[in-house]
Amino acid sequence: MSALAALIRRDIRIALRVGGGALIGVLFFLTVTVLMPFAVGPDLALLSRLGPAILWLGALLASLLTLDRLFTADHEDGSLDLIVMSRTPLELACAAKALAHWLAAGLPLIIATPILGLLLNLDGTATLAVAATLLAGTPALTFTGMIGAALAVTLHRGGLLLAVLVLPLSIPVLIFGVAASQAAISGPLSFGTPFSILCALSLASLVIGPFAAAASLRHGLD
């Protein structure tokens, strides 16, 4: 257990230090969201209707792009070899790394949501709904994205390929995340149904992600 705690502490520390990427994700989120009105026009009514979708797309891209280096950094400096050899099961180590990444890069996105909601003319309830769905849904994004990050080690390249691999996997999360936020704002569905499906998706990815990533890493090392 202390091994996993040490891994989480180390990853968060690196993310927050000079050269770490934790806050760049938030900045990306902010920039993408600000860009949207320039494309669709400054119509506040339209923006508040599109708001949840814009925020979800921004969060999706932000959490995906920061995942790029999750395993490749450890692979390049040889840390990954030692993590694979260690007495900690690789699945748990992967889960710990994903958790650390979510704490350092995913949580700030949720904290930034209310400010961006203001820019998109979302009212209090709508902002709260989007923040709640992001809180429930971003773990799913991180844990499925982790599979792509592990594949990036095997394939010796990341970046766009990672995005192409993982984006289709995140479609269900996007559907139910936006549906739940829309339901909270305008109906006609109840908030509970899509939200519980979203939570279920998160829980499922919490299990599938680490196993798939660990399997990919085991076969990918050379």
Binding site: S2, A3, A5, A6, L7, R9, R10, R13, I14, R17, V18, G19, G20, E76, D77, G78, S79, D81, L82, I83, V84, M85, S86, R87, T88, L221, D222
Partner: protein, 200 residues
Amino acid sequence: MRLSGRNLKCVRGGREVFSGLDLSATSGEALAVTGPNGAGKTSLLRVLAGLLAPAEGSIALEGGDAELSLPEQAHYLGHRDALKPALSVMENLSFWREFLGGDTLDADRCLAAVALDHAAHLPAAYLSAGQCRRLSIARLLSVRRPVWLLDEPTSALDAAGQEMFIGLMRDHLASGGLIVAATHLPLGIDARDLRMGGAA
């Protein structure tokens, strides 16, 4: 304790690196794997460390902890030092000490053993290649593992560093450990020679 490999064959990228390789080492013994570049020294160590699956053959460690596999009882010192430049020397070492777990030794003493104790609070980014290597060696000391798998351990080390490392390897052998080292330089300790690439 006895480490043995029988009829090992390794294939990488469709190319056969080595085959029909037998090796064995017992407690207190060092095995020096030598051979020209491309003979498969690094591949052999990675096979022993469980990072590469052998295409044929088997590896066994008798007399170790029955609950643990060979990689879990081994230290691997590869070409890369597994250090994070953003963390301090001490943070790097204590991370591996906590993460690898098991029988641990005080981190300060490990740093003192590799003469890095005055650098404990410096960022690892400021270390030279030789100092990075010393810090990796401190990792071997901080957690006790009976098997050391070393890949060119003394490259980048200066004369004093090599001397220091020879002493540490002797201590390890004396306490019942065993060492498999790939090297093209003399190891400096009594070691059985495993020559690769000549016959194949």
